[in-house]
């Protein structure tokens, strides 16, 4: 479980995150949604220490990450698997070396053990034949899956995903969402997903926070989000034609029920 309390971040005069509070629950996919430029990526970067916030606490199982020593932060980071927007695979390494990188750095596994774990992870993301390829030889979806394989190699307690579906076709997006959902349950991880893809929200959003202009505007579940009475959230949720159609139907049902009464 990760608790974020009163997190604020500004770049000069521009406040990008203001008094953000949220509890990311273990074994669940916790989603942060919002339009581009609302501070979602800044939030995730503050939580892993890539950006230093002005105020607030990030509690990993009760211990504040921001006040930890460098060595303590390193220990927490070794339990984090992160999936970056652009996958962030190491160009100069093969897929095999990418997946084995955290194992090489943090375990005393033998070469055979590392290779077995690497193959297990690649099998898990349905890329059993990709070990010898370089990132440049992979498609966008394959890169994301390799990044997931690398993230789960050391069996992390926390999985952070920064827009895992960006640049992917709808079918591959669904595959990635399903994979994130499955491994969250499999490893009982605290998963945080940053997204503005409503398909992902409805597919995996166990717990959702909606960010607007750096502030948490709404909090709920995927079941609640479609019926939420928040105008700003509704504008975001029903921005797509498909969901606009759904809302019209919903409204029509509501109206007919009112008339019936």
């Amino acid at each position: 479980m990760i608790e974020v309390r009163g997190l604020s971040k500004a770049f000069g005069e521009k406040v990008v995150l203001k008094d953000f509070n949220f509890t990311f629950e273990q074994g669940k996919s916790n989603l942060i949604i919002g339009e581009s430029g609302t501070g979602k990526s800044v939030l995730i970067k503050c939580m892993v220490g890539l950006i230093h916030p002005e105020e607030g606490q990030v509690l990993y199982h009760g211990k504040d990450f921001l006040t930890m020593s460098y060595e303590e932060q390193k220990e927490v980071r070794q339990q984090i698997g992160m999936l970056f927007q652009g996958s962030a695979l190491f160009d100069s390494m093969t897929v095999q070396d990418n997946v084995m990188f955290p194992l090489t750095m943090f375990t005393n596994m033998t070469k055979g053990e590392k290779e077995a774990r690497m193959q297990f992870c690649l099998d898990r993301v349905n890329l059993p034949q990709a070990a010898k390829l370089y990132p440049a030889e992979l498609s966008g979806g394959m890169k994301k899956r390799v990044a997931i394989a690398r993230a789960i190699a050391v069996k992390p307690r926390y999985l952070f995903c920064d827009e895992p579906n960006s640049g992917l076709d709808p079918k591959t997006s669904i595959l990635i969402d399903e994979l994130i959902k499955e491994i969250t349950l499999e490893y009982d991880m605290t998963t945080l997903v940053i997204t503005h893809d409503m398909n992902s929200v409805l597919e995996i959003g166990d717990k959702i926070a909606f960010l607007h202009k750096g502030q948490k505007e709404w909090e709920g579940t995927r079941k609640e989000i479609l019926y939420a009475e928040n105008e700003i959230l509704s504008k975001f949720v029903y921005a797509t034609k498909f969901l606009q159609h759904f809302r019209s139907k919903l409204q029509a049902e509501k109206d007919s029920l009112t008339k019936g009464d």
Partner: protein, 249 residues
Amino acid sequence: MNPIAIIAHIGQYFLLLGRVFRKPEKSNVFWQRFFHEVNAIGIGSLGIVAIISIFMGAVITIQAAFGFESPWIPLYAVGLAARDSIILEFSPTIVSLILAGKVGSSIASELGNMRVSEQIDAIDVMGVNSASYLILPKIAASVFIFPFVVTISMFLGHIGGFVLGVAAGVVTPYEFIYGIQYEFRPYNVVYALIKTLFFGFIIPSVSAYHGYYTKGGSLEVGQSSTRAVVYSIIVLLLFNFLLTQLLLA
């Protein structure tokens, strides 16, 4: 650039060095990367260093012969002048300037590209000290291999001067060999190698600094690479002056 920005850069450079010189996560990984960098930085530069050294040695010899046309100056002075030019300045400084262009731009663009594609962030998030993991092997490899490269350059410079100088008819083999042995001071080689050690530190560290803190996209990676070469050369020339003053004056 204003003075405050320069001071800020210097401060940030030393803060980065503070992170670079932390104990590596895994010593076997460090040595693996060290030898990889020795190969990339040192062995990979030998070709260009060899070509430049041979021809520069020849040009220095011919120019010395051209300048010593007076009958009062003995012909062996050509070898002597070529030797001192090659050992004192050409091999340690000019070769290092060439390496600043080749190695410096390569380091800055590699790290810059890793920064803008979030690969450095990925290393940090995993709990690995990215500065130490990426930069320390490069600095250690350069400090280790530069003296060898410069020594090879000195040797090839003399070979070039001898072969091409004799072939051009500006000096005889005997006079050239007598000249390069005449009043030879081993301290000159020590001075050159001390300078090289400093240059071996300056080039990768200054270049890595520019690459590591790249912001933006591919355009900025190119700009970082250019800045890395320019600043490496400026710092290198400054230290060349300071070290010459300290060691020879």
